[in-house]
């Protein structure tokens, strides 16, 4: 089974090499990229099924026993994230067939996209802190190039902000890793869980804050999010969709991983900090969105406010709250990427991303209107779509924890989300088209099919939410039981040592 654990990393890397070797042969590159993405989606779902049947799967690279080698761990959380990343890869790969122009393809879009996917999956699956840094760099460097590929002025300006802040964040991550190694002498996450339990509490909290800043920049939490709305609306739609869906969520995943496995000595301080940050993240994100009038900028600010809900789930640190956070991750990735893809459709039909230049799409292109309504309503949290259940679980957990302020904030932010979505709806779909603007024909099937597929999945998660909630709960159960993770990676003896290491 161990090949299955690394296949979500190995397959895109191999395909990227193949696509790179075929530089100059556009048709071959497109076939490689699409095939690899579709196979990847199948493989990742197989991995998820296999994890939910057999429990955590572990693979030691090169047969070096943990903690000496590099470990790949697929527990429920990692498997869920990888499965959703496989789905997004397939959807955006098909969309890109008609969205990315030949000039960008000639400059290496396909290999870069595949390397990006390998980096994302590697960050989800690795069980080693330094290895996680390497995967972060793999996905960062390819995202840098994808973001600036094409060299337009807006791209360069947005790209500069994105690149500089992310480089600083990477260095913070690296220095935190160095200090962690200096304190404990190990970088295997399961081994670290044991070592940090016996380490001086004050030093561990300092490390926790360093990691919070490093991952917080990637996840775009308050007050570290300014790079996101400055850059995500500049590249072509297929690229900004995979960025919006997956990249910040790698940061959220890393936060969840380290704040449930490694830094749980002083929950009163660390998770309380996360709690306040989550509230500010929600509010600033949604207020920022209210001030925007460009389709993709509104959506970018909403990424930030939605990240707040996930961090809230992590900060409450109960099983229900974590299940909510995991469910929210899945819901949000699908819906947000889909909204970016719809924004691309609306621009093709209506001719602009500016809401002021759009109009009349509901009357002229009812199918497009429906494709927008499903993810938009889901993002706003209307029942029975996926966003309703995600918000419900997180808010329920907040009620259980009696954080009334956060309950009020999250409900208020939900209302403002509806305001933003109706603003888009009103301006782009309902109002009459501005004079002199014509409405174009519906775009080709490569663009519509991924949007329709993701919309159907949103509806399915909403109507049959039970199995998805069960998966999220299984992930949350594992997250609340770090000893189980230690046992899966290092064996029973280590789990005993973990139990004896501290309170």
């Amino acid at each position: 089974m161990s090949w299955l654990v690394v296949s979500p990393v190995a397959l895109p890397l191999a395909a990227a090499a193949l696509a790179f070797a075929w530089t100059g042969n556009r048709a071959a590159q497109r076939i490689v990229s699409t095939t690899a993405s579709l196979v990847l989606a199948g493989l990742t779902i197989t991995l998820l099924v296999s994890v939910s049947q057999h429990g955590t799967l572990v693979m030691q690279a090169g047969g070096w026993a943990a903690p000496f080698g590099i470990t790949f761990v697929a527990d429920h959380l990692a498997a869920i994230m990888v499965a959703i990343s496989g789905l997004m890869t397939a959807a955006t790969a098909v969309y890109a067939l008609a969205d990315i122009d030949p000039a960008r393809e000639a400059l290496g879009y396909h290999p870069l996209f595949l390397v990006l996917v390998a980096g994302i999956n590697g960050a989800f699956l690795t069980g080693d802190l330094f290895n996680m840094y390497v995967w972060f760099e793999v996905l960062l460097i390819s995202s840098f190039v994808l973001l600036t590929l094409g060299n337009r002025r807006a791209q360069l300006e947005g790209g500069l902000k994105y690149v500089t802040i992310n480089l600083v964040s990477s260095l913070l991550f690296l220095v935190s890793i160095g200090l962690t190694y200096g304190l404990t002498g190990t970088l295997n996450m399961a081994d670290l869980a044991i070592a940090l339990k016996g380490a001086p509490a004050g030093l561990v909290t300092v490390l926790a804050m360093l990691f919070l800043i490093a991952f917080g920049i990637k996840a775009a939490i308050f007050p570290l999010f300014f790079w996101l709305p400055a850059s995500y609306h500049t590249p072509p739609v297929a690229i900004s969709a995979i960025f919006a869906g997956m990249l910040t969520k790698v940061g959220v995943y890393s936060l969840i991983r380290v704040f449930t496995l490694l830094f749980i000595q002083d929950v009163g301080w660390t998770h309380q900090t996360l709690l306040w940050l989550s509230g500010f993240t929600m509010v600033t994100g949604v207020l920022g969105a209210a001030a925007q009038s460009e389709f993709r900028k509104i959506l970018s600010f909403h990424i930030i406010s939605q990240i707040g809900y996930m961090i809230l789930g992590l900060a409450l640190y109960t099983q229900l709250a974590l299940a909510g956070a995991v469910f929210y991750l899945v819901h949000h990735i699908i819906v947000k990427a889909n909204l970016f893809l719809v924004a691309g459709l609306a621009r093709r039909v209506g001719g602009s991303f500016e809401l002021a230049d759009l109009g009349g799409l509901y009357r002229k292109r009812p199918l497009l209107a429906i494709l927008f309504l499903v993810p938009a309503f889901s993002l706003a949290g209307f029942p029975p779509l996926s966003g309703f259940w995600a918000k419900l679980v997180v808010v329920l957990a907040a009620v259980e924890a009696r954080s009334w302020i956060l309950v009020a904030v999250s409900l208020g932010v939900g209302l403002l989300t509806i305001y933003s979505m109706t603003k888009i709806w009103q301006a782009a779909f309902w109002s009459p088209p501005p004079s002199g603007r014509s409405v174009g024909p519906m775009p080709s099937w490569q663009l519509v099919a991924p949007v329709a597929l993701l919309a159907v999945i949103t509806i399915v998660i909403g109507l049959w939410s039970e199995p998805f909630l069960a998966l999220a709960e299984a992930a949350a159960r594992e997250l609340m039981d770090p000893a189980g993770y230690v046992r899966a990676v290092l064996g029973d003896g280590a789990a005993l040592r973990y139990a004896e290491a501290g309170p």
Partner: protein, 143 residues
């Protein structure tokens, strides 16, 4: 041995932070190089510094002798140097391109220049405006 190196790391890191907060993006990149160097040094110290003992396992023994140098941080640094080099080069090229297209590397000027429709010089304007049919032709096509 660790203390003087740790203090050096602090000084270089501080200098790097100072440069990173400058308005001129070229200085930002220099700051990044300093930061990256000091972080690598921090990694090095975190493995503890010893002298004169190479980490080789003597014949017949199972583990290296006590007090041998720690090889792991050196492997980590090697990886980090390679990654840091690649990222720095990319940042420099990006900076060069931005200077060519927008005519400035001062952070507070960038967004102003972006809204300014006048081309910086004749050859680099944004002429192929976006149309409903597709994105503006990128890179090579514009030159």
């Amino acid at each position: 041995m660790e203390v003087p190196v740790a203090i050096t790391v602090g000084i270089v890191f501080g200098a790097g932070l100072y440069l990173v907060m400058q308005r001129n993006l070229l200085r930002f990149v220099f700051g990044l190089i300093l930061l990256s160097g000091s972080v690598n040094m921090a990694l090095f110290v975190s493995g503890r510094l010893t002298r004169n003992l190479v980490p080789l396992v003597p014949e017949g023994a199972q583990v290296p002798p006590v007090g041998a140098a720690n090889a792991l941080p050196q492997a980590l640094i090697l990886t980090a140097i390679v990654i840091g080099f690649g990222l720095t080069v990319f940042a420099l090229v990006l900076l060069l391109r931005t200077y060519e297209r927008l005519g400035t590397v001062a952070t507070d000027q960038l967004s102003l220049r972006l809204d300014d429709p006048r081309p910086v010089d004749g050859s680099h304007n944004d002429a192929p405006a976006e149309t409903a049919a597709g994105e503006a032709a990128p890179g090579k096509a514009e030159r």
